[in-house]
Symmetry: none
Subunit: 190 residues, 4 copies
């Protein structure tokens, strides 16, 4: 049942955006009454937290294949590619995870936060592995990881929040792809 609710909510996020999601809409989507939602979630916030966890899980699943790549550098690249891919393909989920301001208040104790931490740790470890295998001369794994993350997040979030209007719409994805290639090149000089 919670699944049903979450799926409906996510679908609404996807199709109508953040503003289009409210208790009534969700209830209608699953053809239950609004009151029913409160049997499964204490309030709107709790539902949104669950949604964020949902998004975190979806993201982890999306990244999973990258984690199994053997060579750390290839893994790093695949990881980045998939991260960006996730953002472009699921802007609503990405938004929820990395941009939305609303229901972050209590997020720290949430499982979804744990998931995020784990992924981030894995990412830093991959960078460290690259360092260990001399892909980078620099030894500051944390900063490298952070730098790469910033670039990726910048790309996705500028796209999602529609701040790329100065670029023709049909060239935005291509530009992002080129930029991704570029940052890899740049990283190799580290």
């Amino acid at each position: 049942m919670r699944r049903l609710i979450l799926d409906a909510a996510l679908h609404l996020f996807r199709t109508k955006g953040y503003e289009g999601v409210n208790m009534r809409n969700i209830a209608e989507a699953i053809e239950y009454s609004a009151a029913t939602l409160y049997l499964y979630y204490k309030d709107k916030n709790e539902l949104y937290f669950a949604l964020q966890f949902e998004a975190a899980a979806a993201k982890r699943d999306h990244l999973l294949p990258a984690m199994e790549v053997q060579d750390p550098m290839e893994r790093l690249i695949e990881f980045g590619r998939r991260y960006i891919d996730f953002g472009f393909k699921h802007p609503d989920l990405y938004d929820l995870l990395f941009i939305t301001k609303a229901p972050m208040e209590h997020i720290e104790n949430q499982e979804c936060w744990a998931l995020g931490i784990a992924t981030h740790t894995f990412f830093e470890e991959t960078v460290q592995a690259c360092i260990d295998q001399r892909y980078f001369k620099s030894t500051d794994a944390a900063t490298i990881a952070y730098t790469l993350w910033c670039h990726a997040h910048g790309m996705v979030s500028l796209f999602i929040r529609e701040r790329m209007r100065m670029y023709p719409e049909d060239q935005r994805q291509a530009l992002a792809a080129k930029s991704f290639e570029m940052i890899i090149k740049m990283a190799e000089s580290l």
Copy 2:
């Protein structure tokens, strides 16, 4: 008076976030009636546009000194430094300009959009100047500019929207500084 309203609105943005800003709140903040706001702004949208213009102007002013640096590479660096500095110092304004979702509908014909375009153009021209003076081997000014922008925006927006919780609070700014140094280094290899 418009100043008063805008300042109050910006302050509300800063403290309560987008959702916390509404006509009545703003009115209360300046200790006027809600109706009064409508004497100075046609409606909520118009007030928001003014707010966005405000932010755009503030950003331009903040970047201005960088524009006068002679050497293009130094100019680029100073530009970036000031861009990030603006974001960290005025998270509410930056948020409004580059993250907030709401009132972008008609923004394209607004002066504030023109301001943004101008700045972005100037940024790309600076990159081009660097290329012309052989600071970069790569000749793809657009992609270089975009890449640097993504990185900077990523840093600022992760910070503003509080997605840096995995880093101790007192180390976030330092990390950003290190990352900025790093991206410069990386760029020099281009």
Copy 3:
């Protein structure tokens, strides 16, 4: 419940006039919250449409007995008598149907408009039947019907909108009755 709302709304129309009717007033009248109204009617317009339909149905019901009179001339007279009677007895409904300005915008596609058309057609057909049976020499059924309607509507609407103040209040109905007799006489000369 819809009944409750409509009755309250009609009563308000009756006592306070069009301007006095608003969602809050209606809600107060039935001792419910304003929000409740929106459970039964999408918005103010929809409620008004329902009100107009209500009025149209009531009028049709009021006229119904006249429609079964065999002789066309007697039918015509009974029709007129009942039309006027309806107006005097249910000024609020009549007002809504034939005087109120407000929510006519979309009325044409409404069932209530269809009802009105049907009644009007029936009326013209009755006039035509009178012509066919030589009650009138004139053969212009449309104009005859329209003329009689104008007179009846004039009587009712002058009464409803209180423009008969020059006649003592207790004589108004009698005057109307006499005028009705007179117009019949006049019609017989046609």
Copy 4:
């Protein structure tokens, strides 16, 4: 100055209809501040009363030429023709005088009411004159006058409040003209 205000208000009535008239609009139209209106009229009601008087005067002026026709029957006809003409040409003023519900509360003591009475008396006297000169066999001047008035008012008010939708728009005036001819004929049988 009162002239200026009234003219502006009337013009607004004419162009935007009842709903389009409010203190701000009037003030803007005469390029004065809203507060200024209150120097000349205590409140909105008082201004509306003045407006009604204005309308009454305009109507009297419109009818004036008819009053000078010698033959009472011709006078009666001309009177009717001009009455209807006034309604069709100045729907807003007619509306104000004979349909609008709003500010009638205190109307009885108003001069505009006196004007109306005078006109109505004159009308009845004309009918009486027709009776005296054997144009009618009936001797009930009051009922005859009332009956004719009802017809005329019915025509105008059905037109003004757009209840003639069942007749093609371009035929409405013609139908009214035919009906006017018809009522005259009918009256002659009295």
